[in-house]
């Protein structure tokens, strides 16, 4: 029995160490976070930005789980007609949000500030279609609990069953670049 007691003491001491720290829960600071999409048409480029990004993250055991939601009708391209056309093509009333989940390495660095580049596994739900892919993410640790993340990746509008909008009978390119700059705090 004394051996069992020794084991219990060792486990108790181990639990007090930082190796088994509680998960850190963070949320997106909407006012300081943005998500943008970029489309190319033969005659012009479309850049639209949303400032209504909502999200949460959990950091545990050197790993991050992130979930982001963006209202589709919050993207602003400085052209009301173009934004309305976008809402029509992505059926904003039926699929009102873009939802992104991601998991990847996010070990707290030894010193701050610190920037780390890594690859996250991403699931994107857009226009009712779910797809998985890897995306590069740059994480900047301002402190142990203030983290900013930047990512950029390309998706196919045809892949998400979006009928590509056209102007002057010419459709936009299939490729859409989505990028996000997010700030997470407790």
């Amino acid at each position: 029995m004394s051996f069992i007691r020794m084991i219990v003491v060792a486990v108790a001491l181990l639990l007090t160490s930082s190796a088994f720290a509680d998960p850190t829960q963070l949320k997106v600071v909407t006012a300081k976070s943005t998500a943008s999409y970029h489309l190319v048409h033969k005659m012009h480029k479309v850049d639209a930005t949303s400032k209504k990004v909502d999200g949460k993250a959990i950091l545990t055991d050197g790993k991050a789980q992130v979930m982001i939601r963006i209202p589709v009708d919050s993207f602003d391209s400085d052209n009301v007609n173009r934004d309305a056309h976008m809402k029509e093509t992505v059926e904003a009333a039926t699929y009102p949000t873009i939802e992104l989940k991601a998991v990847g390495p996010a070990a707290t660095p030894a010193s701050f500030p610190s920037t780390v580049k890594s690859t996250f596994k991403v699931q994107l739900v857009f226009h009712g279609v779910k797809q998985l892919f890897d995306a590069p993410v740059e994480i900047t640790w301002t402190s142990a609990t203030e983290v900013s993340a930047t990512t950029s990746f390309k998706i196919s509008l045809d892949g998400y069953k979006v009928e590509r909008p056209s102007l002057m009978f010419i459709k936009v390119d299939d490729e859409l670049v989505l990028d996000a700059k997010l700030l997470f705090t407790p």
Partner: protein, 220 residues
Amino acid sequence: MTRAGITLCLLVGLVAPTRAEVPDGGLPVDMAPAPVPTAEAKPKDDLDFDLFEPKKIAPAFDPVAAALALKLSAEVKTRRRVLTWHQGLGLATLGALALTMVLGTLDYVDKFGGGDYTGKYTAAHEGVSIVATAGFTTTAILGLAAPTPYKKPIRADSALAHKVLMGVAAACFVANLILGPISASKEGTLLQRDLAGAHVGIGFGSLAAMTAGWLAFVIK
């Protein structure tokens, strides 16, 4: 459970009275067998999590929501169809207006710019101008009458520039619709030359405004 709580439980376990020792070589009587993995057990998906509040479960069928969705979808389809015609007819009208200007300028030069006053361009200019006016009117009606399923606030953007410039072009069309016949009625007078000159100038104004309105929407 926090690590502090787990630690406390373990320490309490240390000082709590223990059960009777299990004799060497024997198994505890109440030792339960380990659960056998079943065929249905699957490894947990890395992305199988939800960090937001659970979504409210929508009713199986909401007739009001379904009717609204159907109406929205119909309006979207109608808008796309109408605006496709608007774009096509608009481009054709721009071409017709350019041709009107060419014929009108030739007609002016023929009569007042050192030409032979043959009048050979007059009928063609009138005919094409009527086509251009009808095209412009129809295009405008299509643009204004297209349904707007997703509301659009008024903002200083290229869409507003398009509407303002087409409004200027429309005013030029109306002015020329009046000036053209008046100028024609003054055949043989000096006034006709001045009226015709104004008619040509306003015609170029309509072409410039319509071209700028088209480019504002296409390029920006």
